[in-house]
């Protein structure tokens, strides 16, 4: 075990290096590359936070995009200027119609709303396990999607909210990425995180050691949901539009793929796969465009996915962190 000071030093240095990197990116990259960097960051937040739910506690949740949608819509509505609100959403309740929050508090409220919904949903469905839970969370996702699609007064239905301000940029995304990773890391190497891992490994044994299954599960779902909600806010204000169609089962699958390929429970794995996967799809663009063979990128991606699973069936990092990062924690 090393000293706290060294720990803090590492974080400070990493933080500074990150800031420098962000500044460098902003100075040198074009809009396209910047937006890739932004999306990669958002995917890191999504994958790492889902890893808390799916990886640490072993809850097979397909509901992540639902929390993202909740956070996204809440943030978008809270950030929208009153003028625009009265035009787009004239039927909003007065207190909401007249309210505009800055970006950060709006995102936090979005995250908290998502976490709140996760608490309620979790209380109901977290008695289920494995596939039963997967189907229940998938059902939750579809229900949220249907409700958003049909709740015209607040969400404008399938059209969604558009013309949002482009508030999201690297200065927002990467600090939040750091916060997410920090929280996940802190959790994983704490007593609380161990109890989550224990629940994943063997529920009954964990319970017999005094771990409150229900509380642990609900908590890990809610933590994941909070970050998903925040990521939703970033997402909406990066695209500047938010529609129910974005938060689909396909997106749920994408995030789960990142978590599993990186390694269930491995934060490093989630971060790396989130970056690689969100970049790799773009890597095939030039080829597809030049040869007019759209879909080849997807096929190659799928092949890469299958091969990586054949050679690393437990994910790239298993449930661990690489040794040079882990050393500090033990």
């Amino acid at each position: 075990m090393t000293t706290t000071k060294k720990n803090q030093a590492v974080f400070v240095v990493a933080g500074l290096a990150g800031l420098a990197l962000v500044a460098l990116f902003r100075a040198t990259l074009d809009d396209y590359a910047l937006s890739l960097a932004n999306f990669a960051g958002i995917y890191i937040i999504l994958a790492v936070s889902l890893n808390i739910t799916n990886g640490f506690t072993g809850l097979f949740s397909l509901g992540h995009p639902a929390f993202m949608a909740i956070g996204g819509y809440v943030t978008a509505i809270l950030c929208m200027p009153v003028m625009k609100k009265s035009m787009f959403l004239p039927d909003l309740p007065a207190w909401l119609g007249g309210l505009t929050l800055p970006f950060l508090p709006a995102m936090l409220v979005g995250g908290l709303m998502a976490a709140l919904v996760a608490l309620v949903i979790g209380a109901a469905v977290l008695r289920l396990k494995g596939h039963y839970l997967a189907v229940a969370t998938m059902g939750f996702l579809i229900i949220v999607q249907v409700l958003i699609t049909n709740w015209d007064t607040v969400t404008r239905g399938p059209l969604g909210l558009n013309g949002l301000e482009d508030l999201t940029n690297l200065w927002w995304v990467y600090p939040l990425v750091c916060v997410t990773i920090f929280c996940a890391w802190k959790l994983k190497f704490s007593s609380l995180g161990r109890s989550m891992l224990a629940v994943r490994e063997d529920e009954m044994a964990a319970q017999c050691l005094g771990v409150n299954l229900f509380r642990t599960r609900v908590m890990s779902l809610a933590i994941g949901a909070f970050f998903a909600g925040v990521a939703g806010g970033l997402w909406a204000h990066l695209i500047t539009a938010i529609t129910p169609g974005s938060f689909s089962l396909i997106m749920a699958f994408n995030i789960v793929v990142m978590v599993v390929v990186g390694g269930n429970g491995s934060i490093t794995g989630s971060v790396l796969t989130a970056i690689v996967f969100s970049m790799l799809t773009e890597a095939f663009r030039p080829l597809e465009e030049a040869w007019d063979v759209y879909g080849v990128g997807e096929i190659v991606m799928a092949l890469v996915l299958i091969l990586s699973l054949i050679y690393r069936p437990g994910g790239l990092f298993g449930s661990r962190e690489p040794a040079f990062l882990r050393a500090r924690e033990e």
Binding site: Y32, L36, F39, N150, G163, T240, I250, R285, E289
Partner: protein, 358 residues
């Protein structure tokens, strides 16, 4: 390179919207090819680069940014408003024009800004056209409206139809809903059967057009089926088969069964290039979108965004495959004729061409 003018074709070539969007890109590429065969533009070749945005808003945003970074002077694409909303504002911000080939929401130019143009008519126009036809020509007074509630396009279509039909004095006796991707409409049909309507308005995209027609007819119902350009697809005759593809009327872009030379030429070239007739109206619209941009470049004599925008806005009487285009309205939606087409025993016939009031 400097000897090509790049135009971005942003379409969902994979994923759920691919059947609608792919023909759009095909049409656009064909247009570029024909222009180049005739010597290109401003002495340069035109290239339409296809960006696949995977039926995903994230990919739409990054695809648009990539196209801008690639130096495309203008963008075109999409058959659905929600994707336009992810891509077009980026063009607006960069000061380069974006022409949607297939999104028909009449508010689009308002929402995005002055760099946003539409190749098709607005949903209000086509809904009014078919509403007029249903009330006046088909003599229907009581109709049932079916709406695909998962899409903005279909919801808007129904909204305008109901508005117009009620104004004309008709009655909407029942509204029913479904979601994109539904395959089974038996419940809606059972209700339709009981309603005793004179006609049913089915607001759907091409994927459900053939399915709904087939199932309504199979259930033994013979009332007229009316719809908008979502029904402009071969599926409407092939899926139910010629015997059941009967008494269907839809409003669409004025190219199907039209004998104007530009239409005939387009269809012939399309067949030559892709070995099949245009799959749906979006092929023609993609073709027209490129044509509009090329026409503006020619008139502007430059590819500079600001000049190009001015030239586009000044488009007057451009002879597009889908009808003459003039941006004369304050809304930015072109004034175009709307064809009302009937299907009888699997055969299409243009019943009338409806013109919006000035």
């Amino acid at each position: 390179a400097d000897d090509t003018i790049k135009i971005a074709g942003l379409f969902n070539l994979t994923g759920g919207m691919s059947s609608i969007d792919t023909p759009g890109l095909n049409g656009a590429k064909l247009a570029a090819k024909l222009i180049n065969e005739k010597g290109g533009l401003l002495g340069k070749k035109v290239e339409v680069i296809g960006y696949d945005t995977k039926t995903d808003q994230k990919a739409a945003a990054t695809g648009a940014k990539k196209s801008l970074a690639d130096g495309c002077v203008a963008g075109l694409g999409y058959g659905d408003t929600t994707f336009v909303m992810a891509a077009a504002p980026l063009y607006q911000k960069k000061g380069r024009p974006f022409v949607t080939s297939g999104a028909t929401h009449p508010m689009l130019p308002k929402w995005v800004g002055e760099y946003m143009f539409m190749a098709p008519f607005g949903d209000d126009d086509q809904s009014y056209a078919i509403a007029d036809y249903t009330y006046k020509k088909l003599g229907a007074r009581k109709v049932v409206v079916w709406t695909d509630n998962s899409m903005d396009f279909t919801k808007a279509l129904s909204k305008f139809f109901k508005e117009r039909f009620k104004k004309l004095g008709g009655e909407i006796i029942l509204e029913d809903f479904f979601m994109m991707g539904d395959k089974d409409f038996s419940a809606q049909i059972a209700r339709l059967k009981k309603a005793g309507a004179d006609a049913v308005f089915v607001s759907s995209i091409p994927n459900e057009a053939g399915l709904t027609t087939k199932q309504i007819r199979e259930a033994g119902l013979t009332l007229p089926i009316v719809s908008g350009d979502g029904f402009d697809t071969e599926l409407i005759t092939t899926v139910p088969g010629p015997k059941l593809a009967n008494d269907v009327y839809f409003a669409t872009h004025t190219y199907r069964e039209d004998k104007r030379p530009e239409v005939l030429n387009f269809i012939e070239e399309y067949k030559k290039e892709y070995n099949r007739p245009p799959e749906n109206a979006f092929a023609a619209l993609g073709f027209d979108a490129v044509g509009l941009i090329a026409d503006a470049i020619k008139r502007a004599g430059t590819t500079d965004g600001k000049e190009l925008r001015k030239a586009l806005a000044a488009t007057k009487g451009y002879k597009a495959v889908t009808g003459e285009i003039t941006y004369s309205r304050p809304s930015g939606v072109p004034m175009k004729g709307v064809s009302v087409i009937s299907v009888k025993n699997g055969k299409y016939k243009v019943e009338e061409v409806w013109m919006p009031a000035k």
